[in-house]
Subunit: 330 residues, 3 copies
């Protein structure tokens, strides 16, 4: 346990995520989760992990529970991952093309939520590009309803953070001894923010963020992280390299190096990866821009654990769904 | 039982909705349903009602039954409501983006229907903007197939009518003693027409329609209803106020007061609601245009039963699905 | 068994479709299936056939199996047919709007496939307009994963070929004694190619293709088939008339007779059908262009088995899913 460094900052979460008995009700951010809560989720997720080629786990733990998948941004991968997680626990999952955040009128959003609640949905899995929508919904639903983030603006993507942590644990053991570098568009990344929260809670030894100046977060964020503008410097000796997807629209900003230039400076090649620890692992939340932020030799190389991340995604979502809704099953 | 007034008109339904043994096969309109048939459906629906927070009902009554949700107009709310109703009865429900009414060629529509029939769909739940499509389909399907309306043009929305009746019964008891006002764009409203049919069959004491002249139905329709152009007059002493959604495109008509003006004249405020009976309830089929046809103080106020309507929607659809398809389950 | 004629050509299939033990793993083409393999599939499909009005078959044979429906071309009919087939065997079926063939970058397509594999999908049902995508996917998936074609470019539509064969067997008995004419846009038709493969494997007595010159396939294709430009000639004495849908965009080609002209020369009318055997059957893969390639008097006439084809489609897909995934069920 360290008294200083990046674990020091602890801003309060926007909304209470727990029930009066302390159990997890919502999962909108990892910011206020204790180490023990996270470890309990990761252990349960590990229980649901299966190798590719094995049968997926099947359970009736959430029989009678109805889950709404509300995605206002496209995301086949995460949507399907939640859908399969719910169905493999015996829940009913309905995909809805509801426009949650009719940005002008908060009341209309709540009307939609109350309607879904009246249809006896118990869990709302929400992806939304507008910051605050999830907390707003969570603050208004009935006591038995849970709200899970499937990605909120640039702020948070908690199940991604958990699956990243699970993947590291599987390959490197406890996170507390590790040095981890997050590389790319940190400024706009919910993946980076949730990774930061979970690695801080699990007391990683060192956390680095690596980005061009224009994609660095503001100084008040990512407190305690070491910042690097040169990828070669940021990778030295790290145990985990977590690459981020760079959105092509960022290249329109004059300060951001564009495609080829980005790869020349920030693309993870085998030569650059050699600066990390010899047994370092490489992660990416997908979808990858091969030849932009990552070379195929690395993405498909022996140190890549990118495919394991996807499998872990279903297991983590099963653990989270079970944690928030397991008590309500029929 | 009254011999005169608005219950007098009884136009024949377009198609026979019953099987030779008298049981319900299709539900396309409430126009020809007897009071006893409606009451049987409402009682069964009541059996499936659950409070928000309770587990939804689960049944295997429709196991082996396959339901097609055919929506050619967008409607998340009603589609999901039918989907959940079917699944909670153990049926398989498939959502289809089939274009039913290729308006030029009736044969093509029937080819689609025969194809779905050959796939062993037993129930077609259809929403369509074109009058007559549902009856046309119902007239051609095989004897074991049922057709349910989820909203047909401006003509009919029978499950909405039933859920409205169920909601009133829950809050006010028998409908036969009540005075009910329907307010808004009556002329274009299938909700109003189905409400009219069900309240007439259940022998409401008095039915009023309240609308600007341009949104009043033709004189031959809504026989027996008292017509009001001033909302203040129409509300006096009623037990139930049923507000309708006004479509923004109506405001383009020069005779229709637009947004603010509409609210000034036809918006249901607390002050206006005070003209109704002290224990009057307020209904709305949703989605609401708050600040246009209804003030939030009323929508969210103690007399509002709007959320109960949604819950009742699933229960009513379960009762209807069970009525038409319960005999065919494996 | 004939030594010459159209059964002679036997080009190798693009990819090995069988497991080392000889069992069927993928179904991308019928080109290399032996008569005995096809007959085994057809017999199993027949086991799953139900009359319209009977309950569809229900089984738990694929319990624990997860099927991805990946359609990059619209096809409600075939998609729903696969969905129902999977669900009626107890599998979980997820419809995905994944863009498989990001044409520029093969790697991206494989990333998508590996992601789905990591989500524990066992079967990929793929429709794609780009030739070769299915074989490419099949060549890269893990050993336990199966790839099924739901239509590949103009090349192949194997479950359609099987359902066509099943339909003929039901009405005419063994295919080996029959003369079959395929009529229409042979050149661009995957339906025609899969029909050709299955009828050749089942040793039809004679196979004819009938088309305007511009829609005839190249000479090296459909080896052994008799070619006719005049429909009247091609129909003489045949036992089966298989009509193809003509795409309206073909009429833009100057060599192709357009709508009315097409019907005048290639539309199947009762008068023309009279040239076939008295008990000839008429097939069409749907959707039909009535009044273009087929007259309603024929489509709805006593010799039409078009609706039976649809029912057989679900049964065939059940048999195929069971064949490739039956061994992996939990």
């Amino acid at each position: 346990m360290q008294a200083d460094g990046w674990q020091a900052m602890k801003p309060g979460a926007v909304i209470e995520q727990r029930r009066p008995d302390g159990s997890l009700r919502h999962l909108i951010t990892l910011e206020d989760l204790a180490r023990s809560e996270i470890e309990t989720l990761l252990e349960r997720a590990q229980y649901y992990v299966r190798e590719v080629g094995q049968r997926p786990p099947a359970s009736e733990r959430l029989r009678g529970v109805t889950i709404a998948n509300l995605f206002t941004e496209p995301s086949t991968r995460t949507r399907v991952s939640f859908e399969l997680a719910g169905r493999r626990l015996g829940a009913q999952v309905v995909n809805l093309e509801v426009q949650l955040s009719s940005r002008a009128k908060g009341e209309t959003m709540l009307d939609t939520i109350f309607t879904l609640q009246a249809l006896h949905f118990d869990v709302f899995v929400i992806r939304d590009a507008e910051p605050g929508v999830l907390s707003h919904v969570a603050a208004h639903v009935a006591p038995h309803v849970s709200v899970l983030s499937a990605g909120e603006a640039h702020l948070s993507h908690p199940t991604q953070g958990l699956l990243d942590a699970l993947t590291i644990r599987q390959h490197k053991g406890a996170i507390s001894g590790l040095s981890i570098a997050i590389v790319g568009d940190i400024r706009h990344s919910r993946v980076a923010r949730s990774a930061y929260h979970v690695f801080r809670a699990l007391e990683a030894r060192e956390l680095r963020i690596v980005a061009p100046a224009a994609l660095m977060p503001e100084a008040r964020e990512f407190a305690g992280c070491r910042r690097f503008e040169r990828l070669e410097d940021g990778l030295v000796g790290v145990d985990v390299v977590m690459m981020l997807r760079v959105q092509k629209e960022r290249f329109a900003q004059s300060e951001v190096p564009d495609g080829d230039e980005y790869f020349a400076r920030y693309g993870l090649t085998a030569a650059r990866l050699a600066r990390a620890a010899a047994d370092a692992i490489v992660m990416h939340p997908q979808p990858m821009n091969r030849g932009v932020e990552i070379a195929s030799e690395v993405a498909d190389g022996p140190q890549s654990v990118i495919r394991a991340q996807v499998s872990n995604g279903v297991a983590v979502r099963m653990a989270v769904l079970e944690a928030v809704a397991g008590g309500m099953a029929a």
